[in-house]
């Protein structure tokens, strides 16, 4: 199934300025909250003041008395989810796990959950009206601790959740929706063969993606039943699918336009405001705008799961891993989602090991429902696995990279779930890291270094692309994937490569759901691979058409016409790659440029355009490694990150600067999660830090320049060798930072984040222990 992977490129691999760059740095770019339309009114959501309660009644009468209040809504305006399943991008989603997140039904399960909404002629009026909505609650005991929630006698969040994956099927509901176990080989035999066994338990807190742009939308409906949505999202088609499902309105009535997006990281792969605004618009007959506050974003959108992972690894004296056992308990908030799957399946995918047992359970608590965050489900258990691997290497007196090289998976090795690896770049990543000057740079007293590697599976999924040629030979590329990480630049580069024309003559656009074929979300590290693949296919179709047109003009057969250097060449002059027109002319070859053919399109069969779509089955995994140097203030527990290097296999970096951006961004987010980021809930089950002041993502001055090394081991299944790059960078930072900090401080703190008070206590305990 291996295909011919191109390795020589003219445009791919260069670093042109992104086409959306000037608009973004000058403020012209329009984000979710930037659209205003004639007659627009403003929606405001009424949110639960309780972490767990029954909704007894909702009374809008006082709110409706305010002049200027034009519509109200609650879950009564939405269809009952029942057991309906909605096709998501990669997995099916049960409507009842996300419709109540849009608008609670009968019960609220976390503080800040939407219970009702109002729309009025100004934002202030809408906020005032929301305050006047009287909701009567019967408060129920809330349960925040995942261990407590997992107990059999715990108060239940749902009376219809039965643990899946248990035999015999349970007859009583519980707060554990999913249990999963995979195993291969014989785990007891593996530990029996080991000379050293290390077992530790690591805790990773619930954290938020921290995208800078809050969720926002404008919805316009008309008397013909048409529903236009403008919103900040990772997928306009996903918004169409999910909003249709939540509102019960036919998909065919929707047109969704994605605005520019100020970050998503997986957090904008669902809908929150859009179905509400649709209902408010239909009821009021007016366009409705809704914008979340930062407080709303933290309280009521989907963070990443908290998890506790116990890991036990056995090795022989000479450093061969004989057994890996993991046990994960993952806190997924109030409704079922499935980050546990990836966590269980792939937590130790970097290592060749015959005996693996991996077990995991999801737990529901009175916290917001978790959603995707870069490589969902993986960073939490990888902290545990990688920190233990570092500890083992240290105890065996082996270099941690050498230890990993000895155990690293390579082409032909089989994962614990039975799938063999194709060509992969883990060993090359490890070797590059070892050769990097950072790895051998001297450390001073009080400083520590950590390394960690991670694997992510990456997705393919469905994408479409359209290419239109203008009369002057300039080219428009249309796709349906919101550009988060520079994908427009990558699309243009890949099209330039196929068409042989300068990348600057190509204008890539992200268009609405009426204007291009279906595209799954920008997520799962799939856009460059899958949507890029559709662009390559469409460009190849266009080249074939251009050769056909030139052949017609010259009265030749298409086989006698080549396409090279951006022009059709009669075949007498084949053999020269990327020739220019003068060269061809001096050789006496006939040529027609794209502009020539565009000018004569009408006479040769009509406008030049090409469409391609596919379900990309050619995703390939990626591996990433981080090296972190940290210094600890022993009197305050403050950590300084001194130096940081990321190494990652990108397959082929279409636009290297934006691959580096993904690597650096993931590192920064992982450093934040390791050191300070966490959801802090108070006694009432309310989030105590719903803002960037006390939810501490790193600021620029907290960080050194993040160095990057791109490794390119081509994906054998992709025409240009592309692998996904967007998700795996979040997985290695936490264990790299935790190892570096613990080494610097002489501690073994396993409870993240390593915030100063916790670290200082650990330092004092360590000092007392040695005294």
């Amino acid at each position: 199934m291996n295909m011919n992977v191109k390795t020589e490129f003219k445009y791919v691999g260069t670093r042109p300025i992104r086409p959306d760059g000037p608009d973004k740095v000058t403020g012209r770019a329009r984000y979710g909250a930037d659209l205003n339309v004639q007659g627009m009114i403003y929606g405001h959501i009424v949110r639960s003041p309780h972490a767990h309660a029954k909704i007894k009644s909702i009374d809008f009468s006082a709110a409706c008395k305010l002049p200027g209040v034009l519509a109200t809504m609650s879950a009564d305006d939405l269809p009952e989810p029942g057991d309906r399943k909605i096709p998501g991008g990669e997995v099916e989603m049960a409507l009842k796990t996300f419709s109540p997140v849009v608008m609670a039904r009968k019960k609220v399960l976390y503080h800040g959950q939407a219970v009702a909404a109002v729309a009025a002629t100004s934002p202030e009026l809408a906020a005032e009206a929301a305050r006047l909505v009287k909701v009567e609650y019967e408060v129920l005991p809330h349960i925040m601790d995942m261990h407590a929630a997992a107990r059999a006698d715990a108060p239940l969040l749902h009376d219809d959740v039965y643990t899946q994956g248990v035999d015999p099927a349970p007859t009583t509901p519980s707060n554990i929706p999913t249990q999963i176990e995979i195993s291969t080989g014989d785990i007891s035999k593996g530990f029996a063969e080991a000379d050293l066994v290390v077992e530790r338990t690591y805790f990773v807190p619930m954290c938020h993606q921290g995208y800078i742009e809050p969720h926002a939308c404008v919805v316009q409906t008309d008397e013909n039943g048409k529903v236009d949505i403008w919103c900040s999202t990772q997928g306009a088609f996903m918004v169409r699918t999910l909003t249709a499902a939540v509102t019960g309105i036919d998909i065919g009535r929707f047109k969704v336009t994605a605005s520019e997006i100020g970050g998503g990281f997986g957090g904008k792969t669902t809908v929150y405001l859009e179905p509400v605004a649709v209902v408010l618009s239909l009821k009021s007959g007016r366009p409705v705008k809704m914008v979340m506050s930062r407080d709303d974003v933290f309280r009521a959108t989907g963070p990443a799961a908290a998890a506790e992972t116990r890991v036990k690894i056995g090795v022989t004296r000479d450093g061969r891993i004989t057994a890996i056992e993991t046990d994960i308990l993952m806190d997924c908030g109030a409704y079922t989602s499935h980050p546990i799957m990836a966590g269980v399946l792939f937590n130790s995918a970097c290592y060749r090991c015959e005996n693996v047992r991996s077990f995991g359970r999801e737990v529901l608590t009175n916290k917001p429902r978790v959603y995707a965050y870069r490589a969902p489900g993986i960073p939490q258990p990888v902290v545990a696995v990688e920190c233990v691997v570092n500890e083992i290497a240290e105890r065996l007196n082996m270099d941690p990279i050498d230890f990993r090289l000895l155990n690293a998976v390579d082409e032909g090795d089989v994962m614990a779930i039975g799938i063999p690896f194709q060509a992969i770049g883990l060993k090359q990543v490890l070797q590059e890291a070892k050769a990097h000057p950072h790895y051998t740079a001297e450390l001073k007293a009080g400083q520590g270094r950590g390394v960690a590697v991670a694997f992510w599976i990456n997705a393919g999924m469905q994408s479409s692309a359209t290419i239109n040629v203008s009369e002057d030979g300039s080219v428009n590329i249309l796709t349906g994937n919101p550009d988060i990480g520079g994908s427009r630049a990558s699309m243009a580069l890949m099209a330039a490569e196929v068409l042989g024309i300068p990348v600057e003559t190509i204008r890539p656009s992200v268009v609405d759901t009426d204007s291009v074929g279906f595209c799954d979300v920008t997520g799962g590290s799939r856009t460059t691979l899958a949507t890029g693949g559709a662009v390559i296919k469409a460009a190849e179709t266009l080249v074939k058409e251009l050769r056909k047109r030139a052949a017609a003009i010259w009265s030749l057969d298409i086989e006698e016409v080549d396409w090279t250097g951006g022009m059709a060449v009669a075949k007498s002059g084949t053999g020269l790659e990327n020739m220019n027109r003068e060269d061809a002319a001096t050789r006496g070859d006939k040529t027609l440029t794209l502009a020539d053919l565009a000018a004569r399109a009408g006479a040769t069969g009509g406008p030049l355009c090409a469409v391609a779509s596919h379900n990309a089955h050619n995703a390939a995994p990626s591996f990433a490694l981080n090296i972190c140097d940290a210094q600890v203030d022993r009197e305050t527990g403050k950590v300084d990150i001194l130096r940081y290097t990321c190494v990652q296999d990108a397959g082929k970096a279409i636009h290297p600067a934006y691959v580096e951006g993904q690597m650096q961004g993931g590192a920064v987010q992982g450093i934040g999660w390791a050191l300070n980021e966490e959801y802090i809930f108070n006694e009432q089950g309310r989030l105590d830090n719903p803002g960037f002041l006390d939810y501490r993502i790193p600021v620029a001055s907290d960080l050194p320049m993040i160095d990057t090394v791109i490794v390119e081991v081509p994906n054998p299944l992709h025409p240009y060798g592309v692998r996904g790059v967007g998700e795996v960078p979040i997985a290695p930072p936490m264990p790299a930072v935790v190892t570096a900090v613990n080494r610097a401080a002489g501690t073994r703190l396993c409870h993240l984040p390593l915030s100063p008070p916790k670290l200082l206590a650990a330092i004092e305990a360590a000092e007392a222990g040695t005294a």
Binding site: G165, G266, L345, P376, I419, P420, Q422, G724
Partner: protein, 81 residues
């Protein structure tokens, strides 16, 4: 005969059998064969899985075909971000 590795979830319906061989050459025939062989299993359970054919994970394998020496692995679908 293609070799099939069943997922942990599927193994709950196979008395713990992890690996089988099948005569099918198409995904649809593979499903039929599985359901005949393991009456406890049903189509919905199979449909929850992606199928890896010789190392390539296919989320929607409905129309896929494979060879006699193919290695097939049923794997739970994973969502990315």
């Amino acid at each position: 005969m293609a070799r099939v590795i069943l997922s942990a979830d599927m193994q709950r319906y196979t008395d713990g059998i992890r690996e089988i061989t099948v005569s099918a050459g198409k995904y649809r025939d593979l499903v039929t064969e599985l359901l005949q062989r393991f009456p406890g299993m049903n189509e919905a359970i199979v449909a929850k899985h992606a199928l890896a054919i010789d190392g390539i994970i296919i989320q929607t394998p409905l129309l896929e075909t494979f060879g006699e020496d193919s290695e097939l692995v049923f794997v739970a679908r994973i969502a990315g971000g």
